[in-house]
Structure formats: C-alpha cells, structure tokens
Symmetry: D3
C-alpha cells in the first residue's frame, strides 16, 4: 500500500522528517512517500498562511503524477481538507483528525499543545469541523515555532509540558502534539506529564491503513462529489504538472 504524505509547507527537510516518522509506524508493506508543495508558505502558523497552504496542497494533488492508495494531510490545523476530499477518490486523513480520533479512543478528554498562539484558531475550527470539539479540553501554545522544534528536543518537550499544565488541570487525560514538526516528541512528553501523548502523523498513517484495509474510499454521493472539471479554471493549477 502506498501512502502520500503531503507537507503543508515548502520545506523539503520537514517533508523528509514527516516521511521518516510516518514510515517508522507503518505496517509491513506500507510505503510512505512524502510530497512538498512547489510554492506556498515556509510554515503555516495562522489563518492566512493556512489558506495559502490549502491551495498549494490542492495544486500539488491536482497534478501529482503517481499512484497512491490514500493521502495524509500533514499540516496540523490546516485548511483544505474538504477540498482534497472533493478532488480525490482515495481516502484522505488529516493529522488533526487522526490525532483527535486516537485521543478520543484512549482517553476521556484531550488537550492540544501547539507552536504559536496564532495557530489556535485554525486548530479549533478543524476540531469543530470534525465534530470532536466537545472532547477537547483546550488548545495551548508553547511559543516554540515549528522551525525551532527540533533544535533542542528536551527544551521543546519542557515547553510543551509547561503548555500542557492548564490542560491537565482542566481535565485532559490525553495530550495531542499540535504540529507535524513535533513528530517523535510523544515519548518525551509522556515522561514529563504521565499521560499518553498522540502524534498526528503516526495516527494518520495507521488510520489510512485502516481505511484501505476496509476497502473504503471517499464518498462521491454528497458534499465531496468531484468538482466540475469542464469548467475552465484560469491559471490553475498554478504549478503545472507536479514532479516529486
């Protein structure tokens, strides 16, 4: 089974980290291929950047030449999920959804620890759209930008644990890593907080495998019916045919 893990920003090194983290949790026989938009944002940490990244990801997927069995949208709290489901027949799993679903299965209420406070609004909108907002005890920022997350992982884990404190006090018994760039920090944060910590990339890989093994694809009978390609779309896709 081949999974396409689409980064929401233009950093190839972040894509490679996501690809590696995803491959590490994948079942035997599952191959994860990372993909990087050819234009867009260096990182998506707010509504403005998130909406740009949504179009860049759609651009990439509209022109992707290869086959895939399912798509992982690897931007936490990023927009565009429903558009991707319209575009594709293959199942689409967003890491925000995947993390929230995993957390809801192993705990009663979850808290999300993310990078900057500018991302909180997008994340809350994503959880509202999914429908699990009632299970969320809150979203808190650690003030660690995504580009700095990997510099000193112990320090990042400390900052996340600090951000998690009010969430645990408010009743969260599970935490969610609110950024793809935090992949791999779950164990460090579990040690610091004593609660299970969910990594959305790992969650999304296994949920894609779940959907593919069930043989289910995105419904085309309603909101996600294919867009009308007959209609001229000027200057789109922006990037021309994508190349990996």
């Amino acid at each position: 089974m081949k999974l396409l893990a689409v980064n929401c920003n233009t950093s190839g090194s972040v894509t490679r980290e996501i690809e590696a983290a995803a491959q590490a949790v994948a079942a035997p026989g599952t191959v994860v291929v990372g993909a990087t938009p050819s234009w867009g944002v260096a990182s998506a940490e707010g509504y403005y950047e998130s909406f740009i990244s949504a179009a860049a990801v759609l651009d990439l997927l509209a022109t992707w030449p290869g086959h895939f069995d399912a798509v992982i949208m690897a931007g936490f709290g990023e927009h565009g999920r429903e558009g991707t489901r319209q575009l594709l027949d293959a199942p689409v799993v967003d890491i925000t959804e995947a993390a929230a679903i995993t957390a809801a299965l192993i705990g009663h209420r979850f808290g999300v620890v993310t990078t900057l406070s500018s991302t909180i609004g997008s994340i809350e909108q994503s959880l509202d759209g999914l429908g699990l907002a009632s299970r969320c005890a809150g979203v808190r920022a650690s003030d660690v930008p995504v580009v700095d997350a990997a510099h000193d992982v112990a320090a990042t884990a400390d900052a996340l644990a600090e951000a998690a404190r009010p969430l645990l006090a408010a009743g969260a018994d599970v935490l969610v890593l609110g950024c793809a760039g935090f992949a791999g920090l779950d164990t460090l944060l579990e040690e610091r907080t004593g609660v299970p910590v969910v990594d959305g990339v790992a969650a999304a890989v296994t949920l894609c495998e779940s959907l593919v093994r069930q043989g289910k694809r995105t419904s085309k009978a309603g909101a996600y019916a294919a867009p009308n390609r007959a209609k001229p779309t000027p200057g789109w896709p922006v990037s021309g045919p994508a190349v990996r």
Copy 2:
C-alpha cells in the same frame, strides 16, 4: 469612503455586476471598486474551488496597490475570511456574514437559497464560523448555476422560489440569496414568496459603511494578528504585484 469589492472568481463581468449592485445601495460619498483575481476559478461552487479562490483572493489583496477603507468579500460561502482579516487592518465583511446578520435583524429564522447543492457544505461552515447557524432554517439549492443566473431572471426567481418552499415550511420568515450572482433578484423573490429577501452584496456594503462610520478596524490583539512577513514565503504571492 472607498470600498474594495473582491469577486471570488476570475470573471470580470461578474465583478462589474457586483460593483454596480454594490454602488447602487451605497451611501452618498461611498465609492465601490470591484476587483478580480488574476488566477483561480471560473466560479466557486464547492469546497475545492472555494479553497482555490481563497488563496487567489489573498494573493490579490496582498498585492493590491491602492487604498481602501474596507473590503467586501463577494463570494457567498467562500473560504478565506479569517485569513483576510489577518492580512488587513481595514474591516472585512463577507457577504455570507452580512446577509445572515441582516436576516437575523428583520426575521426570526432565515433560509438560504443557493445555486448548486455542491455549495451547501461551504455555506453551512461559514454560518457555523459566524455563529448564527442556530438562526438558519436550512440551505437549499435551486440547481441554477451561477453562470446561468442572469440569463432569464424570471426563470431564476421561479427556481429560487421553488427551492425556498421547504425552508418557509420549516419556519423561515426571511430568505437570503446565496450567491453574489443573484444580486438584484431580491424584489422578484419577495413578490413570489411574500417574505423579505436579503442580498448579501447590498448587506455587505451597508455593513462596511457601518464599521467605517464607527471608526472600528480589525482587531490585531488575537486570532487576526498580522502574519509574520519576515518569514520567507516561497513563490508567494503567485501573481506578483496586482494591477486593477
């Protein structure tokens, strides 16, 4: 006062219709300038097209050379509203919000009649984000594509009246025209249904005037704080500096 009315699609003739409809309701001294994205979608009738249009509109606004006192986002149910608020200090009024607000002030529950069923999901998300979903009796499609709306206005009004029937039966006492391309049809639909009909473009013009006269601008103290321009954004804006 100068208002920028941004069309969500690339049709210059639609932009001119919006501009004219907006100017017609504007107060003395208010000038409405229409703007058309230089790339994007021929019409936005579903999630996929809506997310593309969001980025194209942001692209236009990020590079707009002229002054404006407020912005009208003239795509009904389109995405990107929160990103635009991040980008700009000037007030932003989306026609979906404007229509829903007007309807909530003159009736108890409103119904929305739109073009195709593929747009219903985006419209519902927009109303959820605004917070007035509890006042909405439903969103119904007329199966009149936006490009055909102006061909035979009497026939379009008939189709909208037909689409409105279950909404009125469900308790709606006001209707909302769920597409910028329906501008001007409010009177025809009022004649057919006997209830007030709100046109989002007209509503947005007068709400922009309301905000400008109150002297209020978009808050930069929270979710709409300006995005970090220092961060390199590769290949963005796509269009280069916009020209009217």
Copy 3:
C-alpha cells in the same frame, strides 16, 4: 431618515445622552429622536427591572404619534425585542445585538463589560436569543452603577479595564460596552486595553441605516406577525397616547 432611540428607563437626561451619542455617529441626513418611557424603572439592572422596562417601552411605541424609519432599543441586555418586532413594521435594532454583531465582524471573540453583576443574566439571554453566544468570551461586571458611570469617566474606564482583564485572558480580542450609559467611553477603554471597543448605541445607529438603505423591514410572515388588535386588551396601553 428618522431613527427613534428608545431609552429603557425613565431618565430624560439619559435619553438626551443617548440621543446625542447616536446623532454624533449618524450619517448626514439621519435624524435621531430620543424617547423616554412615561413610567417604568429608574434604571434596568436585572431581570425584574428589565421586564418592567420591556412593557413600558412597548407602551411608548404602541402610542407614539410620530413617524420613524427604524427603532433603536437603547437598553443593553433588556427584554422585549421580539415584542417590539411584532408591534412594528419598521426595523428594530437592539443595542445588545448591534454591539455583538459589530464585535463579531472585527474580532474573533468578544467580551462584554457591564455595570452590576445583576445584569449579567439578561445580557447572556439576549446573546443566546441573537445566536452569537458562541462568539462571546464572557460578560463581566465593573460594579459601576449606570447612574455613576458619567461622574468620573476616567475612573469608570479604569473599572471597565479591570473588569475586562479576565475576558482578555480568556481570548477576547474585542470588547463591548455593556450599558447605554457608557456611550463615549470606547476610546478611553481602547487606550487602556489595546483592543477595539464597541459602543452599542453607535453600532445600532449604523445598523439601522444599513437596514433602511437596504429597504428591508421586519418580516410579518412568521414569529413577528402583527398581534391581534381586535382582541380587547384591558387597561392597555397604560400610559394613554404618548407625547414626546
């Protein structure tokens, strides 16, 4: 255009302040006329007084001799809005609604700072009825009674800023002045808090202008259908024909 601004209490001096604040923001050609109930409450700071004021305002409007194009209900959080809409064909804008709507257009979440804690329940009910409660971060009392608000405006602004602190901490990026008697304090509170502050009276004036310019009146097709005047209503109106 003539707007009738109805005070909810019997203080003529408060009516004159409301009239002046409203006229100050009105567009050229808009005339604001203040109106004072002939009986009722010295100030409406709780459910009991609010329900009395609702009937006194209805009494005034049922007997008002002059013409008006729209009505401003100038009591923050007061009851009776839906009854007024039943009584009149002209549009009705309550300052609670108007402030909340304005705040929702320029920020993500708003907080309300009001006079006494006894008014909080009514204000919350009003926001629930409107449908924007989900956008409200909370309502807080400053413990400044309405009659004292104008004595020392700097001290009042300080008390409001203090009351606003937990609202800002809870994520509010806009504030609403929760009392008509606070009109004019928006600038002082903006200086103290750094966030936009909305004054409901100013908001209501410009929203009335918005509705009148759109040519829309209260729907009579549902919940606001005119009451049955044929039915004898003993001893009502209480006041006899109103005189300005």
Copy 4:
C-alpha cells in the same frame, strides 16, 4: 400550604378555571388561590402580549397583600419568570417548566401542542431558558384560540390530536398541553393518541408542593438577588396595591 396561581391574562373566568384545576390535583392541606392581573392582555398569544403580561404579573405580585408559600405562573410560554424569581423569596414554578420536567421524567422526548402559531416562539424561548430544549421534539399549533378551547372539548381534543401527529412521527412519546386553557384535556388527548399527556397546571401544583416540602426557596445568591428597592421606580407598580 398556600399556593398563589397567577393567571397571565385579565380574564377572571380563566383564573377560576385554573384555580379549580389546580385545586383538584393538590394534596390534602394545600390551598390554591387564583390571582388575576388588574391590567394587561385578554390572552397572551405572542411575544408582544407575553411581554405585557410579564409586567402585569410582576405588578400584581409586587403588591399582593396576602401570604403564599409558592407561586404558580400559569401562562404557558409566557415571559417574566426570572423577574418573578428576583422579586420573591418563595419558590416560583412556571407551568411551561413544570410540564417539560414532568414529560422528561416519564418519556424520552416530548412534543408540545398549543393554540396559535404566534405562541411558538415564546414557548421555544422558555424551553431554551429552562435547558430541556434537547428533549423537545417540537411545538405545534392547533389553531384553536385559547378563548375557544373550552367551547367544545371534544373538537379541541381532535384538533390537538391532529397537531400532535407530526410530533409523534418525529419521535415524541409524551405530549404537553401548551396552554393553561387546555387544563382537563389531558385524558381526552391520551385516548386519541395513546401517549401520556401532561397538563402544566397540574404539574406546577405538585412541583410547588415538592419544593415547599423540601423546604427550599429561591436562591438570592446570584441572578435572582432581590432588586434594589431603594431606587425610585417612577409610576410603578402601575396598579397600586393589589386586591384579590
């Protein structure tokens, strides 16, 4: 124990019917005294009349000379409940609340059948305020005005059964009589529909007895703290001291 059953309209004969229906279900030792506002509305069938009745009822209670252990507010869906709780220390039970509570204890979802469609909005607001709206399958009008309800009880019961049909189809397994003037029709409607039918007047009597026997009175520690009587309230109460 003495219960004061306050009619919301000015009809003494309706008050006597309420008093009799209430006394019939009361426990030994409970005395029900009916009370009629000295001004107000002939019947309260919509927001406008409901807000007038609220003030008239407050007027009556503010000047009632006798003792009572609890108050029944006997207008279905009428406003003013929270104001009455502010005014009094004795427990207050509104028949809307009482009927909904009883229905929620003996069934899964209830439907309300009322007089005219103009009353539906007020009833929905009352259920929202109580908090049991999620248990309500809907409110339907029978088009039988309250003044005609007692003329031909079999015909009225037939009309109520007809109005109930869509509610039962939507899952209601209990019905509520949505008007004090329907008192006594519960058995006739049970025969026609096969589901339990709750009469709010009977429910309110027994809930008042419940509160008095528990020795509980309205909390004065929050939203229902007594209004400030020191504050001059011009021309209020309207009626002067009430006489039974």
Copy 5:
C-alpha cells in the same frame, strides 16, 4: 402511596439511611420501602462500578415481588435509568435528575459536590442525558469516599464547602449533594455557603409524589417500550426472585 427506594450498592445500612431520609420528607400517606441489590458493588464510585450496579438494580426490580407506585433510583450519577424505565410501567425518578430539576427551579446555575473524582464522568453523562447540563456550573469532588461521609458530618460538610468554592466562583447559586450518602448534610452546607443545597433523595421522593398525584406513568410508546420477554435471556435474572 408506596415508593420503592433502590440503593445502587449492596450495603443494607446505606439502604436504611436512604429509607429514613426519604421517609422524613414524604407526605402523609406515603410509605418508602428501601431495597438492596443482592449482588453488585460495595459502593459505586466510577463507570465500572456504576455499570455493574445498573444490572444489579435491574435484576432486583425484575424480580421484586411487591407492589409499588413509583421507584426512586438512589445512586447519584449511576447508570441504568433508561433500562429501568423500559422494564417498569410505574414512574421512575433518579436522584441525579431530581436534584438537578429542583436546583433548576430555585436557582440560575447549580454546582454538584460529590465524593471522589472518579464519579464525575458518570454524573456529567447523567446530566447530559437529562438535558440540564447547560444549567450546571460544574461537578467537583470532595475526596470524601461515600463510606466515610457519615463518620464526622461536620468535617464532611467542611470538605464539601471547600469543593463548592470554585463552583460558587463560577456562578453557581445553588448546590447539589452529589451522593445519596450525603443525605442530611444540606443544612450544614447551607450554613457554610449561604446558598440553597439540594438533597437528591428528598427531591426524588417529592417528585415521585408529584408524578403519582398527576396520575402519570412511564410512556410505553417509544424508547421505553417494554423489552421483549419472549426472548430467552440466559442466566437472567442472576439473583432469582428477589426477597426484601
């Protein structure tokens, strides 16, 4: 009238306390009979124990030989309420419901003080099921296990007052004793907090009397239709015919 008060645990002494507390508030002519499950849990302080107790209570009621007019389910926050309503025609009142209803009639928002934090989830689920969660300011644990509640009532009342503090700060103006074993502590807690305190056992007795006097029984027309006894149920009831 005969009421069956079913303890949710197997402690006969707790049953006797419940029976005595219930009898104390009952009207003349009402006889309360306590009942103890023959198997199950020593105390139900969490989901696991609560689900076991639900089946043990159903087992008891499925085999109870005597007559009763209504049933009190005397475990605060315990599961099984809807199953009991399916099994029986007689009205069923759960003390969680009864306390929440009483609190909602005498205050604006209530807080619940319970034993251990492990019980909070069940209590919240019960309030959600009832529909009054919007009236609840929160549920807080006192860390007093039910078995210790009666040892030193002054100390227990102190612990409950401490647990109540954040609830009162969050706007609760009424408190609910969140455990049948706290019966009788309402007065002590009222002295310590100044707000009315509701005891669910007393509330349930008077609500049972309310339903019986109204002549209403559990609806069999929907969700509570009798289970199909024709279907073999292996090894059930577990206890064989119950004996008091």
Copy 6:
C-alpha cells in the same frame, strides 16, 4: 497481535460470525479471538438488555484468563464502554465508535441503519458520548431483528436500503451498519444505495491495529483510572473465572 472481540449477547454462533468477519479484515499477524458472555441477553435490542449486557461483558473481561493487546466491544450501541476502559489498560474500541469514525473520514454526514426501533435511543446516546452526533444524519430501524438478519441476506439488504432512504434524503453520503449481526452486508447495501457502507466490526479491527501500532494504551490519568479493587464487591464477578 491478539484482539479479543467480545460479543454482547450469549449466542456462540453470533460470536463465531463476528470472529470470522473480524479475522477476514485483520492484517497479517493479527489474531482475533471471539468471546461470549456466560450470562446475559440473547440479543441486546434496547436500553434494558443493553445495560444487562454491559455488566455481563464486564464480568467476562474481569475474569478473562488470557492475554490480549486490545478489545473490540462488538455490540452496536451497547452500554459499558467507559467501564471497560476503567477495568483495562489495553485499548478498547467499540464498534459504534469505530463505524462512526470511519464514516466521518470518508463522508460528510453518515446515517445509521439498525435492527429495531427500540435500539435507536442507545445508539444515539453512544454517538453523543463519542462526540460525533453532529455528523450523524439520523438512525433508522429496518425492523429486521438481529436473529433474522442472516436468514435471507438479500431481503435484509433490501430492508436496510429502504430504511436508508430518508437518511440519504437528509444528506447522508455514507451509511453505517448498526448491528454486529449485519457484518458482511456492506457490499450488498453499497450496490443498492450507491454510497459507501461501513461495517463496525471491520472498522474496529483496523482501529485496534492502529492503536496497538501507535503503542498507545488507555489513559489511567483521569476518568478511566482503575477502579478500587480493595473495596469488596459482593457476589462479583457473577460468573467466576471465565473460560473461553
């Protein structure tokens, strides 16, 4: 990896069907072991039977002698999920949750088709507890009892398609099989309706694999902390040590 699939009823043949359906979708290396309660209900089609089955399942799990990596609760809409999470450290996936989650990932709104109308209430409660009720277009009964589901699969699929019709009309673009006994009918129902159909047993198997591969177990830091085993639990477990 070893998964324990616990049937909620006492039918060994149903258990064997569940085991086979689960094994069929499992990844290489996953072994599914079916388990049957030693007492309880022949089928769980309503609240009463569901609460009995919850205790019987807890009894089975409390005494299960073998090892397992995760547990599948294979009763659709059955109670007890949270109690099982308290009892066990291993992950627990209920087929109701699993089906709803899968449906929410591949469609916009899902509908549930189940056996008898008596099961609808339990299913709705389960979805409310999960938090995905907002994604559910409704639950409809086919009037096919679970014991008859396998007799004539074409007829059962026809009945399910008929039950699905109003759900599809209400906007469902995915269907969920609301009974473990419907396992294997997904393809037949997809042929009849044209929308993807989710089988909860298959979904639960792959979600268990997802959780185990992520290395996550049930959080013991909150609502699911282990029950206090020191406390004597009389006559429990009912069954004594379970034997497969």
